[in-house]
Symmetry: C2
Subunit: 338 residues, 2 copies
Amino acid sequence: MKKSSILIIEDNVDIRENISELLMLSGYTTYEAPNGKLGVTMALERLPDLILCDIMMPELDGYGVLHILSKHQQTLHIPFIFLTAKAEKTDMRRGMTLGADDYITKPFDESELLVAIENRLKKSHHKLEFATVGGQFNDLFAHKVIKTYGAKQLIYTEGDTPAYIYFLHQGKVKIVKMNKDGKEVVLELCSNDDFFGYWGVLEDQNHQETAEVLEDSVIWQIPVEDFTLLLVHNREVSMRFLKLLSKNLLLKENKMLELAYESVRKRVANALVALSDIYAVNGHFCMRVPRELIASMAGTSVETAIRMLSEFKADAYIDIASSEITILNYEMLKKAPF
Amino acid sequence: MKKSSILIIEDNVDIRENISELLMLSGYTTYEAPNGKLGVTMALERLPDLILCDIMMPELDGYGVLHILSKHQQTLHIPFIFLTAKAEKTDMRRGMTLGADDYITKPFDESELLVAIENRLKKSHHKLEFATVGGQFNDLFAHKVIKTYGAKQLIYTEGDTPAYIYFLHQGKVKIVKMNKDGKEVVLELCSNDDFFGYWGVLEDQNHQETAEVLEDSVIWQIPVEDFTLLLVHNREVSMRFLKLLSKNLLLKENKMLELAYESVRKRVANALVALSDIYAVNGHFCMRVPRELIASMAGTSVETAIRMLSEFKADAYIDIASSEITILNYEMLKKAPF
DNA sequence: CGGCATATTGAAGAACATCAAGTAAAGTGG
DNA sequence: CCACTTTACTTGATGTTCTTCAATATGCCG
């Protein structure tokens, strides 16, 4: 498999060459640009598979580069990662909202950078499935609005009229439904690259669920008109969503069976497994999850959920240290009755 | 609204004219044919909106008429109702399997006939949505196989590889899912004109559920290849199933909430409401339903379901006479906590 | 460091499942 | 068509599971 090419836009020579060397050692082809203007030229010319770009630069800063490249059809879909010294949140937000795919703060260690790059290359593949070139309606993401949300923000609530359908570019979102007593069930946990909020659109119904952000997230909003148009006129899109819907349906059928007849113990165990699949990526099986989330995933009360956690701790399937849960025995939790 | 035209094929003059008169009084236009051969000619010529046809006739019997008309594109979709003296099951089965839409046994009373005709006229409308004329793949029902199933027969079970998707032409079918302890949840109750068994097809998965017939049913089987082809090539079909899927999804989300937090009492009440919507048509709110079905709809044990039924009986919301349930207070059952 | 939110444990009781036993209904074969 | 068998329905008693209310503990934030 051919290794990808990466463009590095960075004014500091030391840093630039350092990164370049690292990437070449990993087998990537690299291009270097010492400022924003040259960076843009080079990007348009070489069409790299990914762009790393500093924010603070003479001539043209990183935001400018991103802005210009997002205006060109050829460079629009190239994964774009910001490099920055300051780790300020507002800063990151601005970059993300402009359409950057990721954000790495200097100083970074090598593996951090390499992992981020690999992730983005993998994902760009996925998104391109939707970005079939052609007429004005052929791109689901053509009129996307990028937004950042903080934890606990509500994206939409039960009863809202859908204005957008959502693509979770980065972060975590829970989709919940409440009964009249105020008790919640988690219908779905969304993580990177999941679509959500499209369920009622086809029926011309208002949202029947609430979408709440679990941790800072970058969300692409797609106008419903675009969505419904593409659904009718673009086979790829309609087939994709048919599959999404039926997959979802099968998942919910399983969940129904679980809620009807499984013990709370089993349901909490399943919730933990599902959570660790989303939270505990790259090796470290640690997660800080509010107990109420676990409870509403298992369809039980908070107290009962906690009791089960205590049991699992006693059985050494998990560990809890300052309310942070560590999965010790994933397989055991997943296995039947136990 | 223009009243529909009906062709009556019947060798007995008295009966024929009797029916004709009745229908004309109801505002229908009628054509009469004294034998099968003439019936076919007339059907092709006049293209009526519905055909009533005797089975036992000289020249060409009812089965023959149906067979011939189903070979012609123009008459294929005309609702076809058999009139017959003998009410034998095997007889009815043969007719239904050939593609008749309904079956009326003589002697019949006037309202019975009129109701059957009206139902069929209403329904033919619905089916035509799928029957867009044109190329060879344009008709979802083009290669349908019509089958009759008796109560308790299994149409497919969990793990089966889908060979068909199903359209329930007449009858009732439950879609259930079992957990390892053998406990069942009803995922869906299908009645006339529902599609089922298409959920896993898009994912190339085997059936994750079991479809069991609740009462004698006529089912149209559509080869999966036809279905998947149409899904890709026919916008009407793909949009229709997108909507079906999302509607289904919303229903299941509600069911999840219910299973998680509603009391058994409420769940059993909901099950009764759902059952009466399907069983208790045209006024008489009576139904003979196995308790196990109610239990698996409510996600509880049979005993508990029965206890709730006894409670409802005591509260005069329902009545039970020789294990037949009559809904006395539909609204009350539907209303919240109570 | 105090105040607020979240997490944890305890105890009491309601809700529900299970087992057991009896009754009514529905097939079945002579 | 009837005795007989089998299946489905119904009720009671008992124990488990889970919720609820209450009290305490811990972590978090300015």
